[in-house]
Symmetry: C2
Subunit: 452 residues, 2 copies
């Protein structure tokens, strides 16, 4: 008998699950159908800032696999189809195509919930005005690009210093707008410790972004339903365009309404096989929780890397395999103007919140041997546990060649290494690539010394 896999959500997690299942089981044994409310499937949401900034000229470049291609490969991908409800008892979902507004129930044997996340919209006066954008989907990105192209678009304001907002702010500078950033915290990028965030603020200023830190947005001026300004306690910033960079919320409401357990983080609760608590129902990507391997707590880690891996795990497990998603470290990277920025594990604040007695140290070094052309500044900060010496987290800000170094520290954290052990590791060296003590090793060594 042919079974039916239904996937809700057509981007990284959902379509990876669909494609993985499709590859593993022939079509006469498994139908695979995917419902996507937007117009695109399997695209790089992380590439949107480069589309807006013009580094990527064409939207097609961001699309790894469109709906036609999915269909050619045996996945019935239906864009413009919103799923309104999940009926776990009768194992069916209620679907509404945007084309005609009709609704119908579609049966499933297995279900993958991959509904993604939505940018946070603060409950402030005027927040629903036109011109205020959260950017999560490719459709969102195209809307921002169009708005920034309007003849009278001059001033953009980014509200909140998360990495997506900062990348978009830089993109809008490239597009010729004047850009201001308003961040309630003392520094942008609160996933970093403040001294690292300060470097990011400097980089933003160096390309002309006005950076207002320690200021909370209190509302939006509007004119005829269109945003015209952003209010803080200290000023009103003119705004033809506002980007909300306050992070995202998992789209777990559909699951919650269906009685599928949602965790304290707000994401759909899953086990290490990405099973969502009801037999045959899986959740993957931004809408679901991940186990944080350092804090040992479930978190929502809304990143394309996890979405791809979790989707793959779902696709394997749905089709009789046994794959595990072993958790996350909170590794992330971003390019902000001249700086590459990366982090993994816990920062100082997060380490304290997770109950660790931690010490943090920073070192300044160069990306190449100091005498080699192109040697550029890099700062590495590591967080380690007192007593055990265990590496808990790391942050890197530096010029070209800086960010990817975080991976070796991520691998070290993954394996519960101490900073002393890290400092002994056999890493690659040649003058074009590193000083003889790689900056990551220097930082680990410094932390080991600080711990005694």
């Amino acid at each position: 008998m042919t079974e039916r896999l239904v996937v809700i959500g057509g981007d990284a997690a959902g379509m990876t699950a669909a494609a993985t299942a499709r590859r593993r089981v022939p079509a006469d044994q498994l139908d695979v159908v995917a419902f996507e409310q937007g117009n695109y499937t399997s695209y790089s949401a992380c590439g949107i800032p480069y589309l807006i900034g013009g580094l990527v000229p064409d939207v097609d470049a961001l699309i790894a696999r469109g709906p036609d291609e999915h269909r050619r490969r045996g996945v019935d991908a239906r864009t413009g189809h919103q799923v309104l409800a999940i009926d776990t008892d009768r194992r069916r979902v209620l679907v509404r195509p945007s084309a005609d507004g009709s609704e119908s129930w579609e049966a499933f044997d297995q279900l993958v919930i991959a509904t993604g996340s939505t940018p946070r919209r603060p409950a402030l006066p005027g927040v629903d005005a036109a011109g205020i954008f959260g950017v999560q989907t490719l459709d969102d990105g195209l809307a921002v690009r169009a708005a920034s192209d309007a003849d009278d678009a001059r001033h953009a304001v980014v509200v909140g210093g998360g990495y997506v907002g900062l990348e978009l702010g830089e993109a809008l500078v490239r597009r010729g707008l004047s850009v201001a950033l308003v961040e309630a915290a003392p520094q942008p990028m609160s996933t970093l410790d403040p001294e690292m965030g300060a470097l990011v603020a400097d980089a933003l200023r160096s390309v002309g972004v006005e950076v207002y830190v320690g200021e909370r947005v209190e509302g939006f001026d509007t004119d005829d339903g269109q945003v015209t300004g952003v209010q803080t306690a200290a000023r009103v910033l003119p705004a033809d365009l506002v980007i909300l960079g306050l992070g995202v919320e998992p789209n777990s409401g559909l699951a919650r309404d269906a009685g599928i357990p949602v965790g304290e983080s707000g994401g759909i609760a899953v086990d290490d096989h990405v099973r969502a608590g009801i037999d045959g129902i899986y959740a993957a990507g931004d809408c679901s929780e991940s186990f944080h391997r350092v804090s040992r707590r479930p978190v929502v880690a809304a990143l394309g890397t996890h979405a791809n891996k979790q989707g793959r795990v779902a696709g394997i497990n749905i089709t009789g395999g046994d794959a595990v998603f072993p958790g996350v470290l909170g590794t992330a990277a971003s390019k902000i103007c001249k700086y590459e920025v990366a982090r993994t594990g816990l920062n100082e604040r997060e380490a304290a919140a997770a109950g660790f007695d931690a010490v943090a140290v920073s070192i300044d070094a160069t990306t190449r041997a100091g005498y080699y052309p192109g040697a550029a500044p890099i700062r590495v900060r590591v967080v380690a546990e007192r007593g055990t010496g265990r590496l808990l987290g790391a942050q890197i800000v530096g010029e070209e060649g800086a960010a990817k170094r975080v991976d070796v520290l991520a691998a070290a954290i993954w394996n519960d290494m101490t900073v002393d052990e890290v400092a002994s590791m056999d890493l690659s060296y040649a003058p074009p690539f590193a000083p003889v003590w790689d900056p990551t090793l220097m930082a680990a060594r410094r932390a080991a010394a600080a711990l005694g």
Copy 2:
């Protein structure tokens, strides 16, 4: 009572040991004296090719700390002083200053042997002619630079495809010479599997190097004691200048003559505290053996990174500390023309020799997201053990941003991870830095699939 630490060898290992000991114990408790037969201390031997190629204009840039600076910091650094013998019973070394040829015994309480290594010179007709250079010390490098500047210097031949020879070959192309490479193996860089070495050969050809592989050098033509050609079975290559790129031999003769144990690898045998078998005598750097963490065998791993770490371990242990050098993975990196080249762990041949039943797979990817400007080719090859799935080794050849990725695989090997575990790791991603599946993860995933 003031004790006396004598260090033989004034580069990375020796001077790191000296400086570390100096920092930890005041001068009224410990004299530190270092004998160096050459003219320089604490320099970057790895930077020599860039000095010859002109990327680094000034020899001073390669010197981290000259003898005067060492003396200011309380280390009695004596350049131009050769140590002729070690008397372990009476705890003294026989020293000859090059200035006057006098010899004298110098007492020690602790001794660090850091005599480095010497490029292999094959026993072939004409090998001792002028113009045939092994390049290990800064003095060697300056000699090559001078020879390449001679008015009649037109043709250079690199004998052997090790990374130092290839870097020097590229440097001589930059200096305007025509360069040929002769390598007995089917591909240069025998530390890589052949398909990776073939990429390196392509890169060399692309800058005009004539590459002759599968040809063994049989002798050297000379004229009045000066090399004029390199003979192989197939041809005679004109040569005003020859670089020996056949690897190095540890300078362990001084130790061996003194009855200090030398291992099968030819390096001075040390334990994990870099103690050389006789109380108070340590060995560090290229002259000593290291424990290879994958093959579980002692090896000579002649690299600046190890020299620095081992010197530090010696300096700590000499002064009452307890530091360990936990071994090597054979990690190495080099820039060869357009390619960054890196490796860690065992290649296929080495894995077989170490008794592993191994499988190797390669993937081709890009250094950045495919749509991001500057995305460049990268090939990653991983070697894994059948049955256990353990990652045994990795090799990377690619354009800018490729080489340093080997570090995360080195960290994985260090921690005995399986390729399946590696593929699950939480590594950084952003379009300017990587595809959503980093090439290292792709390769691990492919290997996991190949292992079933």
